[in-house]
């Protein structure tokens, strides 16, 4: 039986000081042009936590605003607010920076994160109120250090500083004197990814009817690499995250593939569960500090706020078929192959129609396509256009070419089968997966019968190949629990043969 999507969670961590100190656009500018106007102006363009919570696409990401509701809000969205917006959402939460820095220490098992004691004391009070941060995690938070020690570690020991509201509140130490793969920069990047992943897993467990002990396996599908100088991408963020999240019966592994990794990982997870290898598999990922403020120069130039000020994370639970939750059709998988080619027609054919053709479905037989769901509020001012809209145009154009829709219907194709984008530009975070939570609910509510999840990855960025990559799969309404057709036992066969021979003998005798 097909495996099902049992739950999904989505979290954000607001990290404005990390935009300044860890986003590559800013760190590169500081190296190349330290006196630049951009760096001088940047600070004035940072948002407050309250603004970030009220920002419509962020409320959509954590599940409080549906894609349909977001589409009704006129763009641009950066000057709009959601009335009554809250930190906690149906699928997750938006964590403020001070709490997130403490969470980084809770996720650090090598005593590499040092925090200033007054900062810890103040933030601890808020964290104690957090519904998901229990005693086990609070016990991981240390009392804190004198600020002088932290200054010394930053100035003399190559530690990566941690700021909150421009004040030095801690640092991440290097884990080796010479090994660049264990440098403070890399450890900081990996710990932020780990902490956002852990927060997503915690929300997934809490917001769905799941026990931690029931999770068998975790697959991390972020874009970071952990290891030392002898194995730069040695990995297993997954097991490291499972440990902090308390998934005692779980092991795990990492799947990589740039932004396409979440879709690859979900196909792997669905196949593992369908095969009976594991019963409950979590596919999860944390965020990426490097991408903070990635399009900041264009945003500042246009007088906009820095909109890439959050780290993203998500977690999806794939489980055995329960007869209720949407099924994953691992027989309807699309893949961009080595020999596919790079023309848009070839790409969309490989990802969309290759699988549909196997079962005689039209492009319009899929109710919703979840593509690259980047928030256009971020990408349009930076000249990258509306990425989801561009993807829907390509799928719609192929539908016209195949005769699935009339040319006149092309304009409305995206409205019917697509959505506006709402996810932050955190690489793998917006790729296909943002709709899993809403899609599961839409299928359960019978608003739609199915959806196609498409992930794309820019492999050429790693300079190992010029190729791009992409995979897709279909989710659909559960057909209900059906009895597995059992095989006939040897005993039954013997009985049937004996019965037949007996009848034959009786017939012979009667003749």
């Amino acid at each position: 039986m097909n495996s099902v999507i049992k739950g999904a969670s989505y979290i954000l961590a607001f990290t404005p000081d990390m935009v300044m100190h860890n986003g590559t656009t800013q760190t590169t500018e500081r190296q190349v042009n330290p006196e630049s106007e951009y760096l001088k102006k940047l600070e004035e363009h940072l948002r407050t936590y309250e603004q970030v919570v009220k920002y419509p696409p962020n409320q959509a990401y954590i599940g409080n605003v549906t894609p349909e509701e977001l589409a009704k809000i006129e763009q641009p969205w950066h000057d709009k607010e959601i009335e009554g917006a809250t930190r906690y959402g149906k699928y997750g939460e938006i964590m403020p920076q001070d709490e997130f820095i403490c969470l980084m220490q809770m996720c650090d098992v090598f005593d590499l994160v040092k925090l200033e004691k007054n900062f810890v004391a103040e933030t601890k009070q808020n964290l104690e109120k957090h519904p998901l941060v229990g005693k086990d995690l609070m016990d991981r938070l240390k009392e804190g250090e004198e600020v002088e020690l932290i200054k010394k570690l930053v100035e003399e020991e190559h530690s990566e500083p941690l700021y909150h509201n421009k004040v030095l509140v801690g640092c991440v130490k290097r884990a080796h004197d010479l090994d660049v793969n264990l440098s403070a920069h890399v450890i900081h990047e990996n710990l932020t990814s780990k902490a956002t992943n852990v927060l997503a897993i915690m929300n997934l467990i809490a917001k769905n009817d799941i026990k931690k002990e029931e999770i068998d396996y975790v697959i991390d599908c972020s874009e970071e690499a952990c290891g030392d100088m002898n194995q730069r991408g040695g990995g297993n963020f997954a097991k490291a995250c499972a440990e902090v999240a308390g998934l005692v019966n779980s092991t795990g592994s990492d799947v990589r593939g740039f932004c396409a990794a979440p879709t690859h990982a979900l196909i792997v997870a669905a196949s593992l569960v369908k095969a009976g290898t594991y019963k409950n598999v979590i596919v999860s990922a944390g965020g990426c500090t490097a991408k903070l403020g990635m399009n900041g120069k264009d945003h500042v130039k246009k007088g906009l706020p820095i909109l890439e000020d959050v780290l993203g994370g998500f977690a999806v639970l794939i489980s055995e078929n329960d007869g209720v939750n949407p099924e994953i059709r691992v027989d309807l998988v699309g893949k961009h192959m080595v020999g596919t080619g790079s023309s848009p027609q070839a790409v969309i054919t490989s990802l969309v129609t290759q699988s549909l053709d196997k079962v005689g479905m039209k492009i319009t037989d899929i109710d919703k396509y979840s593509v690259e769901m980047q928030n256009p509020d971020i990408t349009k001012p930076a000249g990258a256009g509306d990425v989801p809209a561009a993807n829907y145009k390509m799928i719609g154009a192929l539908a016209v070419k195949r005769g699935d829709i009339e040319r006149t219907e092309l304009a409305t194709f995206a409205d019917k089968h697509g959505m506006v984008g709402w996810a932050p530009t955190q690489g793998h975070i917006p790729s296909g997966v943002p709709y899993i939570g809403f899609g599961r609910q839409d299928i359960l509510d019978e608003k739609i019968k199915n959806a196609m999840i498409i992930g794309k990855g820019s492999l050429f960025l790693g300079r190992m190949t010029n190729l791009f990559d992409g995979v897709s799969f279909v989710i659909e309404k559960n057909k209900g629990k059906t009895e597995e057709k059992g095989t006939v036992s040897e005993e039954q066969i013997k009985g049937l043969i004996a019965e037949a021979l007996k009848n034959f003998a009786t017939n012979l005798l009667s003749e």
Partner: protein, 43 residues
Amino acid sequence: MSLLQGKKVIIIGDRDGIPGPAIEECVKSAGAEVIFSSTECFV
């Protein structure tokens, strides 16, 4: 004669639009010489 006949062309393709190799094939068929081609990810 094609607009691109004998011209040298620098191509920057878009992962979510038209990738470099696809543009490369088009401009080559129009008689241009590709001196640089890459695909970038703008997100």
